[in-house]
Amino acid sequence: MAEAYIYDHVRTPRGRGKPDGSLHECSTLKLAASVLEEIRDRNELDTKLVDDVVLGCVDPVGEAGSDIARAAALTADFGDHVPGVQINRFCASGLDAVNFAAAQVMAGQHEMTIGGGVESMSRVGMGAAGGAWPMDPAIAIKSYFMPQGISADLIATRYGFNRDDVDAYAVESQKRAALAWSEGRFERSVVSVKDVNGLTILDRDEHMRPQTDMQSLGQLRPSFIEMGQMGGFDAVAIQAHPEVEQVNHVHHAGNSSGIVDGAAAVLIGSKKAGKAAGLKPRGRIRAFANIGSEPAMMLTGPVDVTRKLLKRAGMKVSDIDLFELNEAFASVVLRYLQAFEIDPAIMNVNGGAIAMGHPLGATGAMILGTALDELERTGKETALVTLCIGAGMGTATIIERV
């Protein structure tokens, strides 16, 4: 099997995913094309070498529809010969895009590929793609469909995390993100989004609230009480987990991932392709895996997929120096730490989506880059990157420095 090397990673800053967010004026296409342009330009990459562009996008409709990856490659002037494919595995789409791109190289069928993702949540809107899973009785009932926030609250209830636990985690995420930004730890990856004249539109993650403390979070009302009770979803949670008497609703806007806009790209290639392009690899994709997990709890897939991945890779939890788990909701990370008894000091060391936001289809590619930057900064070797996923799935990737 060929090795898949990581040659570079770029991402946009994350703009608040609302009409007053800085990236609201930028189309999905512009965000996607801008990271492709940047990864080409700063590597002086001959795009003739690129065999495929794989982009994750969770609501690929409207301006994000009709294979945004091909449109972005053409817009970025990669040339007619560079194809593109858009994939969707909900919140892990960006990481899966990287894995799919790597798999082409590992399989020996392609030499150089780009994996990444894009989401303009402010323009397209979460849930715009519709879908059978929440709607069609044939699947919704069987799979105990409930909004993810209720699943997150169910995880907190089932595994014993109270409001203080999840809020404390959120405060820490904000602190770490603020520190990381102040020390310039994202400098290597974040590329400003510029207008047609070259004027900067946004150069920093703008969702962060570094002053957040327990008191300010304590003011926020849990977000999913009404939905749980009036919408019937608490009953669904309890029927899936009858050991739970009632769902303790602890999540709110301050301890859940932020809604933001953004894009990311990762340049992957074989050793040969890197040589041909004159590039030095920054890391290597060691292994990856996907799994389906219990759909009602939904967001515990990272635990299951990590077990599967470590087993396949012949590794132990202690072999991992650094963990990046998407902060979809605080309870997701707390459960993962609990399940593997991991030291919180090596989990999401530079903050995560609670502070900086979660541009659905792009996040997986973004946090893979965050892990790579951090390995380089600290001189560590191995990181495991994973995300929880709608409908009960998990995707995880182990990267290491070379």
Binding site: P137, A140, G231, A235, Q239, P242, E245
Partner: protein, 737 residues
């Protein structure tokens, strides 16, 4: 036109009045005959250029009660016959075509090219209302007895004559789903507000109003057949639809625990149908209808909740040849909670009540119960103040036994103490006429024993009400060893008069219902002692189909009562009669922690003043160990709840306590809420087959103990391949005493 079910009369304006008048029936129902006639009517009128429009009405006081459910049972039988003879595919094709005929017929009416209006009086339900829905205009009479509705869901079916599609195109989707799920009968004003009918007029004006609509230019096209039609909630895949369906799916599960395929089929028909043009939508509805009609759940529910319950209500168990009892005045001795409830339902049924207690104050307190109930009904608009006055006037309170002398039936509901009861029996029999039947509402004392205090034991019977009397539909009639036919007939006549459903059982500890309920609660207690999380016990019981968890139920009936019964059982039947684990739990609850149930606000649950009850955290401390929830086999817990009760029913049947499978089934559903979708305790066994049930019992016996040991009759049935309802149904070993 040669018609047996309709008359057709065309007036000078060219409007054909089609009057439905089924021969030899007091109520119009849908039958194959009626469908053939209706097809002829539609074809003939559609082809007649002189006909300008059609009004469909009924010549009877009601429009129609819907389809003849026994007809549906017939099609099922024919399907099974063909499946054996011609194979599954051919039989299914036949069944699908056969069961969608009504839907196609109604569609034919809707698209016949003439404007059609329905003129409705009285009841218009099920397939009858679906006929009206297929008309372009609906006029409903404002009579107090007028009702429209689609109650199919109540017997495990759903509206398969276009009902789901037309309602979903008339009402906003959440309203449509609620109407279809609940199966409620809607009064005229509400029907108009909801948009189920277009006009409500006086009863003698419905035909005229319908004709006026046609004369006024009523269109021959349903709204959904007009190009550009938009359903009231818009497209399924729209921001509005995304708000509706995920919650509808969740609420379906919340309300049914996913045990009712008919309700799920409604949801699926509406979801899929709203994305299709009408003809295809109707076809999809028909596909689900054929599936639901063949379902075990529909068969079981139709048999128990429609056929058997109807038979029992009509006096299936009444001894033949005993003249109807004259029941004008009922004497009720004891005006406590039960006596007060019995007084209310008796007076409500129009009979006079003499309500006796040891002093007038106590008797008046019992009467006040009726006052409160009626006040509540008035507040909700369900009764008029005059009705309350009339009802209260029928209840006479007294402390004097002499006032019972003109009563036609006596029901005692005094304290459960044989001595007190014996005094009441003697005092009463001293004044009542010699032919008057005496009934005891005891729930725990054997009737045969109580009858010893009576000077006329052949006129002594048990009438066991369930609490609260005004809500519970079941009444157990208990025959003591010497209870005669006359007493039995009087008890049945009385229960019929108060519009409840009777089952006749023989005398034994706990009779029938409470014996099964005891087994259910015991199973909950034992699970708790095994270390199952308390919340899981409660929720899994409901997932199994029970209305209330065993710990909640125990709180309602009082935990100290459970301990009392356990001790009495041990005293009577020996040490082994009560599981020591269960006794340990009851002793700890009652004697160590003073937790008696809801009555003292402390049971398995806490009952905070403001807010819903919560499991008492201390419950978990009574557990020896705590099992890991993820390692517990939830399916097996569900089986334990249902099998424990069904097995108790099977034993009761073998012992001759309950002697009729219909009574065991109906009694279990309306008496203690045994998973209605199974058709009841014995249908649950029949549904999986005696062989599978015995195997299940043996599996549970091995895992949980001897209480799951199948009884001899069941084992024999399993070997011989018998069933409770089949031709080779077993007989109780001890016939009626």
């Amino acid at each position: 036109m040669k018609l047996a079910n309709f008359t057709v009369e065309t007036d000078a304006d060219g409007i054909a009045l089609v009057s439905w008048d089924q021969p030899e029936r007091s109520m119009n129902v849908i039958t194959p005959d009626m469908m053939a006639d209706l097809a002829t009517v539609i074809d003939t009128l559609a082809a007649d250029a002189a006909v300008k429009g059609i009004v469909v009405t009924s010549a009877k006081s009601d429009f129609s009660a819907g389809a003849d459910l026994t007809m549906l049972q017939g099609v099922r039988a024919e399907y099974r016959r063909r499946a054996e003879a011609d194979g599954q595919e051919a039989a299914l094709a036949f069944f699908f075509e056969e069961t969608r005929k009504l839907s196609l017929l109604y569609r034919k009416l809707e698209t016949c090219g003439k404007p059609v209006a329905a003129a409705i009086r009285g009841l218009c339900l099920g397939g009858g209302f679906e006929l009206a829905l297929a008309c372009h205009h609906r006029v409903l009479s404002d009579d107090a007895s007028s009702r429209v509705g689609l109650p199919e869901i109540k017997v495990g079916l759903f509206p398969g004559g276009g009902g789901t599609q037309r309602v979903a195109r008339l009402l906003a989707t959440p309203d449509a789903l609620q109407f279809l799920f609940r199966g409620e009968q809607i009064k005229p004003a509400m029907a108009k507000t909801m948009g189920l009918v277009h006009a409500v007029v006086a009863g003698d004006q419905v035909v005229q109003a319908a004709k006026d609509w046609i004369k006024g230019g009523g269109k021959a096209v349903a709204p959904w057949d007009v190009k550009g039609f938009k359903a009231p909630s818009g497209k399924v895949f729209s921001p509005v639809g995304m708000q509706i369906f995920p919650a509808a799916n969740a609420i379906y599960r919340r309300e049914t625990y996913d045990n009712y395929p008919a309700a799920k089929a409604i949801l699926a028909s509406v979801y899929e149908g709203l994305q299709l043009p009408m003809d295809l939508a109707l076809k999809v509805e028909s596909r689900y209808f054929a599936k639901i009609l063949r379902s075990k759940e529909a068969a079981a529910m139709i048999r128990s909740l429609f056929v058997s319950m109807g038979e029992l209500n009509k006096g299936a168990r009444r001894p033949v040849g005993v003249p109807a009892s004259e029941l004008k005045t009922i004497g009720i001795v004891g005006a406590g909670f039960m006596g007060a409830g019995i007084a209310y339902v008796t007076a409500e049924a129009g009979m006079n009540v003499v309500l006796l207690d040891r002093d007038l104050e106590a008797a008046e307190k019992g009467k006040a119960y009726s006052d409160n109930l009626m006040a509540g009904r008035i507040k909700k608009g369900r009764a008029k103040p005059e009705a309350k006055e009339a009802l209260l006037a029928r209840i006479r309170t007294t402390a004097d036994y002499a006032d019972l002398k003109d009563c036609d039936l006596i029901i005692e509901a005094v304290f459960e103490d044989p001595k007190i009861k014996a005094d009441v029996i003697a005092s009463t029999e001293a004044v009542i006429a010699p032919q008057v039947v005496f009934a005891s509402n005891t729930s725990t004392l054997p009737i045969t024993g109580l009858a010893r205090a009576s000077s006329r034991p052949d006129q002594f019977v048990g009438i066991h009400f369930f609490s609260p009397v005004e809500k519970m539909l079941l009444v157990e009639i208990i025959k003591g060893k010497k209870t005669g036919d006359k007493a039995l007939a009087a008890a049945l006549d009385y229960v019929r008069a108060i519009k409840k459903t009777p089952i006749v059982v023989n005398d034994a500890r706990g009779f029938y219902a409470n014996r099964c309920v005891g087994a259910y609660i015991r199973e909950g207690h034992l699970m708790l002692m095994e270390g199952v999380p308390p919340a899981m016990i409660e929720t899994v019981a409901k997932m199994a189909g029970m209305p209330v968890g065993p710990l909640s139920l125990n709180d309602e009936v009082a935990i100290d009562l459970g301990l009392k019964i356990a001790r009495a059982t041990k005293a009577e039947l020996g040490e082994d009669a009560v599981d020591p684990e269960q006794e340990k739990l009851l002793v700890a609850m009652v004697e160590t922690h003073g937790r008696l149930g809801r009555k003292n606000g402390k049971g398995f649950y806490d009952y905070p003043e403001n807010g819903p009850k919560r499991l008492w955290p201390g419950v978990a401390d009574l557990q020896r160990e705590k099992l890991d929830a993820d390692a517990i086999d939830v399916e097996m817990l569900k089986q334990r709840f249902l099998v424990a009760q069904a097995l108790e029913a099977a034993r009761s049947f073998e012992e001759g306590i309950v002697t009729d499978a219909r009574e065991a089934d109906v009694g279990s559903i309306i008496g203690f809420g045994f998973a209605p979708f199974t058709g009841g305790t014995l249908s649950y066994i029949d549904g999986m087959g005696a062989k599978a049930f015995v195997e299940l019992c043996k599996k549970l016996e091995k895992a949980c103990g001897a209480r799951f040991k199948p009884n001899r009759q069941l084992v024999k049935m399993a070997k011989a391949g018998g069933s409770y309802y089949g031709a080779e149904a077993p007989a109780p070993t001890r016939e009626a005493a």
